[in-house]
C-alpha cells in the first residue's frame, strides 16, 4: 500500500487490466486513492470473511461439501467474489465482478497492515488467507488453474512416463483419489517435501528420498505453499514499513482495532484477581468449569501431578478466572508435594513455569488463557496427558461414561455425542453447559473455556444476568462471587474506541 507521491504515476492502469483474473497472488499493492470510509468498510468486511473462515474451519471439515457451500454463501453475502467467471454484465443489484475483485485486492492489503505487527497476528492472518485462497483455487476450472500456474510462473518438475510406471503402485497407495488409470493420465510432479508439508503431514502423498510425488489434481498444495511463503515474507516486509503508517493518525486507531478484533475477548484482563479463594476451586470445578478443565482438575487431584500441556492449559485458565500469582504458586505446590515432588524440587523445577505463565520470567509475556480453538487444534494430548478438549480428544465411549457420571441426562448425552460425531466440539460443549445448568438455550456462542466459566457463574448467580445486554466483549466481566467491581475504569478506556467498533463488536459477539 502506497500513501506517498508514487501513486500518481500509476493511475493510468485500467481496472479491467488490473483485475482481469479471478484469483491473484497479491503481488502488487493497489495504487489508487480511496476514501476513508471505503478503507474502513473494505477492511471490516474482509475481517468478517476471515472470521467466518476461521469458524467454519472448526465446525466443518475443511473443503468438505458443506464447508465450501457455506463459505460460498458467506462470501456472496459480504460481496466478495464467489464465482470464478468474469462477468462483465452489470448484475441487477450489487457490485460487478470487477468491483468485487478490486475490493478483494484492496481489503487484503489493508489487513496486511493491521496484521503484520506480531507473530500471533501474522499466524492467524496467514492461516485464514490461506484457507480462503485454497477454497478459491479449488473453485477454478481446470483450465483456469493451468492459466494461473502459467501466469504466475509456477513450474514444477514432471516425472517421466517410465518413472510413473515404476512407481505406479506406490503412487496409487499414497493418494486417496488415485487409481491406476488416473496415474497414467495425469502429470505427476516431483518437488522437495518442504514444499508440500500439508500432504506430508497427513501422509497423502508418496515420499521418496526427500521428494514428494504429487499428482496434478493435488497441485493445489504446492500452490498454496507458495502463497503462504510469499504472504509470510510480505508481512515481514510490511512490518518494517509500519512506523510510516502509524504516524497517520487517521489510520492508526483503525488498524489497531482491526488487529484486536480477531480473538475477541482474550480473558487475560485481570480484573478478577483475588476474587477466588483456593478452597473454592474444588466446588467451582464441579459447578462452573468446562469439561476440559474439570477433567484436568480431577486428574491433578488424583495424581498430584500434571504434564506440561495440562499445566499450561489449566494454569492459564485459573489465572483467567482470577487466581493471583501467589495463589497459583500455593495451589500447584500444595498439590504437587502430595505426590512424588518435594517442596524443594517444586521450587526448582515447577515454580519457574508458574511465574513464567504470569509473565514474571523469561521474555515476560503475560500469557493469555487458551481459547477453545487452541485447545482443539494444537498440541493434542498423548499418553499420560489429561489436557485437550474432551469432546475432541476422548473416545466417544469414554466421553459417554464420563457424562453419565456427571449426571447428564441420557437424551442430553445422545445429543452431545451426535454433535461430537459431526465434529461440532464447541457446540457439544455448549450443549453440556445447557444440560448442567438447566438452561434451555444458552444465549452465547462458546469459544473460550473462561467464557464458559463466566457464563456459568452468571447463570448460577441469578436469572437476571442471563439475558445478555449489549455488553461489549472488551469490557471485563465480573464474577458474582466478588465484591464491588472496578468497572468504571475499564469503561473509560473503551469509550473512545466504541464508536468505530460498534459494528464489529456486535458481529463478533454473534459469530
Amino acid at each position: 500500500m502506497q500513501f506517498s507521491s508514487r501513486r500518481k504515476k500509476f493511475t493510468t492502469n485500467s481496472q479491467a487490466e488490473l483485475y482481469g483474473e479471478p484469483l491473484q497472488f497479491y503481488g502488487q499493492p493497489p495504487l489508487e486513492n480511496i476514501s476513508l470510509t471505503e478503507f474502513e468498510t473494505f477492511a471490516v468486511e474482509r475481517l468478517k470473511l476471515l472470521k467466518t473462515i476461521e469458524n467454519l474451519g472448526v465446525s466443518y471439515v475443511k473443503m468438505s461439501e458443506s464447508y465450501t457451500k457455506k463459505l460460498g454463501t458467506e462470501s456472496k453475502a459480504l460481496n466478495f467474489l464467489y464465482r470464478p467467471e468474469a462477468d462483465d454484465r452489470k448484475p441487477q443489484n450489487g457490485p460487478t465482478e470487477q468491483e468485487k475483485r478490486r475490493k478483494d485486492h484492496i481489503s487484503h492489503f489493508i489487513l496486511r497492515l493491521a496484521y503484520c505487527q506480531t507473530e500471533d497476528l501474522r499466524r492467524w492472518f496467514i492461516q485464514q488467507e490461506v484457507d480462503l485462497f485454497r477454497y478459491r483455487f479449488n473453485d477454478l476450472h481446470p483450465k483456469q488453474k493451468l492459466e494461473f500456474l502459467h501466469r504466475n510462473n509456477l513450474q514444477y518438475d514432471r516425472i517421466t512416463v517410465e518413472e510413473k510406471k515404476a512407481l505406479n503402485d506406490k503412487l496409487v497407495n499414497s493418494s486417496y483419489a488415485l487409481s491406476g488409470i488416473t496415474v497414467v493420465e495425469q502429470d505427476v510432479y516431483k518437488v522437495p517435501f518442504q514444499d508440500a508439508l500439508d500432504l506430508v503431514r497427513t501422509r497423502k502423498v508418496y515420499l521418496k528420498a526427500g521428494y514428494v510425488y504429487i499428482p496434478h489434481q493435488d497441485i493445489v498444495t504446492i500452490v498454496i505453499n507458495d502463497f503462504r511463503t510469499r504472504l509470510s515474507k510480505a508481512l515481514a516486509l510490511t512490518a518494517r514499513s509500519l512506523p510510516a503508517v502509524h504516524s497517520d493518525e487517521r489510520l492508526q486507531p483503525l488498524l489497531n482495532h482491526l488487529s484486536h478484533a480477531y480473538v475477541g475477548q482474550d480473558y487475560s484482563i485481570q480484573k478478577n484477581v483475588g476474587k477466588i479463594s483456593l478452597e473454592q476451586i474444588d466446588s467451582l470445578s464441579g459447578k462452573s468449569f468446562p469439561l476440559c478443565m474439570r477433567q484436568i482438575h480431577q486428574s491433578l487431584r488424583e495424581n498430584h501431578h500434571l504434564r506440561h500441556g495440562g499445566r499450561m492449559q489449566y494454569g492459564l485458565f485459573l489465572k483467567g478466572i482470577g487466581l493471583s500469582l501467589e495463589q497459583a504458586l500455593q495451589f500447584w505446590r500444595s498439590e504437587f508435594i502430595k505426590g512424588k515432588v518435594d517442596a524443594d524440587k517444586f521450587d526448582k523445577a515447577y515454580a519457574y513455569s508458574v511465574r513464567h505463565m504470569f509473565g514474571k520470567e523469561g521474555k515476560r509475556t503475560d500469557y493469555t488463557p487458551y481459547s477453545c480453538m487452541k485447545v482443539i487444534l494444537s498440541n493434542a494430548p498423548s499418553q499420560g496427558d489429561h489436557h485437550g478438549c474432551p469432546f475432541r480428544h476422548s473416545d466417544p465411549e469414554l466421553l459417554k461414561q464420563k457424562l453419565q457420571v456427571y449426571k447428564v441426562s441420557p437424551s442430553g448425552i445422545s445429543q452431545i455425542l451426535e454433535l461430537v460425531k459431526g465434529m461440532h466440539y464447541q457446540l457439544a460443549c455448549q450443549k453440556y453447559f445447557e444440560q448442567t445448568h438447566n438452561v434451555e438455550d444458552a444465549s452465547f456462542s462458546l469459544n473460550h473455556p473462561n467464557q464458559y466459566f463466566i457464563e456459568s457463574q452468571k447463570a448460577l448467580g441469578g436469572g437476571k444476568e442471563i439475558k445478555r445486554e449489549t455488553e461489549a466483549p472488551q469490557k471485563p466481566q465480573e464474577i458474582p462471587t466478588g465484591g464491588p467491581s472496578a468497572a468504571p475504569e475499564a469503561a473509560a478506556n473503551t469509550q473512545d474506541e466504541a464508536e468505530m467498533t460498534e459494528d464489529l463488536d456486535s458481529f463478533f459477539q454473534d459469530a
Binding site: 528420498a209 498423548s382 499420560g384 489429561h386
Partner: protein, 429 residues
C-alpha cells in the same frame, strides 16, 4: 551389572575426573562445528547445564573448543543439553534487542521415551526398563531410521541412548538442520501413527489404501511381534491383557469381539489365539469396508514407535547431549551403532563410576608399550592432549567414541564437498 556400583552421591567427586580425562571434547567440537562451513555455527550454539541441586543454567555458549573444555571442567555439569544455533551468541542474549535474538537452526531431533508405552507393556512401568520392553526401542529405531533415510533422504543419523529409559535421534544433515518449525512438525506427524491419550482406547486407525510408509513399518513390526508381544509381553495370555486386545477388535454386527472371546476359551496358546484373530481379520476384509485392518492396528498400537512430537517440532527445544551423564543411573549417553542394534544392551552401557575406575586400573604391559610408541612419535605434540586420547581408549567408553568418530568421518565427507564448492565460487570472482 556395571551400573549397580553407581551411587549418585559420588557424582561431585568423579565428574571432574570425567571432564578432565575422558569426555571426548575434540570429537564433540568436530561434530558441532560442522567443518566450519557456516560462520559462527559453534559460537552461536546454545548449551545448557544442570548443576548440583538441580540448578539449571541456560544460554551458555563458547567461542572455541578450548573455552568449552575450560568451562565444563570448571562447572562440572551433572547434565548437558544442546539447544539451537541462534542469531547471536546465546551468552549475550540479554544484550540484543528483544525479538532479534532468534533460534535459527538445529538438528532435527527425536525423543522416544519408554514411559509413553506404559499402557502396552506389562513388564515395567514409568522409568523402569528391562530387556523385554527394550525391544520396543529396537523396533522404533528400525522403523524411524528407515523412514528418515529412504523417505526423507537424510543420511547422517546419530542414534543415542539417553542413559535411562529411551533413545534420541539427531538428524545432522544440512537440510535437516535448516528445516522450519512447520516442516519439523510435518515430519514428526508423518512418522506418528499412535494418537490419543489415556482417554482413547483405540489409538491406531488405518484407512485404505495403506500408505507405503505404513506398509514398510508393518514389515518391521511383524518381524518382532510374535516374540515380543506374544511371548515376552504375553498379551494374549492373562485375562486382563486379552481383554485389552479384544477391546481393539471391532464390536460390530458380526460380533467379532464375542466370537473371538468364545474361541479363546478353548484355546490357550497365544500363537494360536493370534492366528484366530488374524483369520477373523482376513474374513472381514472380504465382507466389510470398515475396520478391516484391525489386526494390523493392534500390532501397531502395541509396537509402533511413540514420539514426543513436541521435542521434534521446536527449533529451540533442548535435548540431552551425547556423552552427557545420566545423573540417576550414572550411565553415559552413548551413540548406538546400528550394526549392533539387535545386541545393544542398555544395562551394559558403562557408568561414569565404571569408566573412572577403569582409568585407575594399572596398565597392562601391552598398553604401556603402545603408549611409549605414541610418545616417541608425537614427542613434540601437546602431551596433555595425547594423554587424554589414550585415557578414554583404556575404558569401555572407547568403542562408543570410535563409533562416534566413524559417524563424524561420514559427515566430514559431505562438508568437504561444501567447502570445495565454496572455494570454487570464490575463485570465480
Amino acid at each position: 551389572m556395571p551400573s549397580s556400583d553407581y551411587d549418585s552421591a559420588c557424582l561431585p567427586d568423579i565428574l571432574p575426573l570425567y571432564y578432565r580425562r575422558l569426555f571426548p571434547f575434540s570429537q564433540y567440537y568436530r561434530w558441532l562445528n560442522y567443518g566450519g562451513v557456516q560462520k559462527n555455527y559453534f559460537q552461536n550454539r546454545e548449551f545448557s547445564f544442570t548443576l548440583k541441586d538441580d540448578i539449571y543454567v541456560r544460554y551458555q555458549s563458547f567461542t572455541t573448543q578450548n573455552e568449552l573444555e575450560k568451562e565444563m571442567q570448571k562447572m562440572n555439569p551433572y547434565k548437558i543439553d544442546i539447544g539451537a544455533i541462534y542469531s547471536h551468541r546465546p551468552n549475550q542474549h540479554n544484550t540484543v534487542k528483544s525479538g532479534t535474538f532468534q533460534a535459527l537452526e538445529k538438528e532435527l531431533v527425536f525423543d522416544i521415551d519408554m514411559t509413553d508405552y506404559d499402557d502396552v507393556r506389562s513388564c515395567c512401568s514409568a522409568a523402569d526398563i528391562c530387556p523385554k520392553c527394550w525391544t520396543l526401542m529396537t523396533i522404533a529405531i528400525h522403523i524411524l531410521d528407515r523412514a528418515l533415510r529412504d523417505d526423507f533422504g537424510f543420511q547422517h543419523l546419530l542414534w543415542v541412548y539417553s542413559g535411562r529409559r529411551g533413545v534420541h535421534c539427531w538428524v545432522c544433515d544440512e537440510a535437516a538442520r535448516k528445516l522450519s518449525v512447520a516442516a519439523r512438525s510435518a515430519v514428526a506427524e508423518y512418522l506418528s501413527l499412535v494418537k490419543g491419550s489415556d482417554e482413547t482406547v483405540k489409538k491406531v486407525v488405518l484407512t485404505d489404501p495403506i500408505h507405503p510408509f505404513i506398509r514398510e513399518s508393518l514389515v518391521v513390526v511383524e518381524r518382532y511381534f510374535p516374540r515380543y508381544a506374544l511371548q515376552d509381553q504375553d498379551v494374549l495370555g492373562r485375562k486382563e491383557s486379552v481383554d485389552k486386545v479384544l477391546a481393539l477388535t471391532p464390536d460390530d454386527i458380526l460380533f467379532t469381539t464375542c466370537k473371538l472371546q468364545q474361541e479363546f476359551q478353548n484355546e490357550k496358546k497365544p500363537e494360536i489365539r493370534w492366528k484366530l484373530l488374524k483369520d477373523e481379520a482376513k474374513r472381514k476384509q472380504g465382507t466389510s469396508k470398515k475396520n478391516q485392518h484391525f489386526e494390523k492396528e493392534i500390532m501397531l498400537q502395541y509396537c509402533y514407535p511413540r514420539l514426543d512430537v513436541n521435542v521434534s517440532k521446536g527449533v529451540n527445544h533442548l535435548l540431552k547431549s551425547p556423552f552427557s551423564v545420566h545423573p540417576k543411573t550414572g550411565r553415559i549417553s552413548v551413540p548406538i551403532d546400528l550394526k549392533e542394534l539387535e545386541t545393544f544392551d542398555p544395562f551394559a552401557v558403562p557408568t561414569i563410576s565404571l569408566i573412572c575406575e577403569e582409568l585407575d586400573r594399572p596398565r597392562t604391559v601391552e598398553e604401556d608399550e603402545k603408549s611409549k610408541e605414541t610418545k616417541d612419535k608425537e614427542n613434540e605434540k601437546d602431551t596433555a592432549e595425547s594423554r587424554k586420547i589414550r585415557d578414554y581408549k583404556r575404558t569401555s567408553l572407547a568403542k562408543y567414541v570410535k563409533y562416534f568418530d566413524q559417524f563424524l568421518d561420514g559427515m566430514a565427507r559431505s562438508w568437504k564437498g561444501e567447502l570445495l564448492k565454496k572455494s570454487d565460487l570464490q575463485k570465480d570472482f
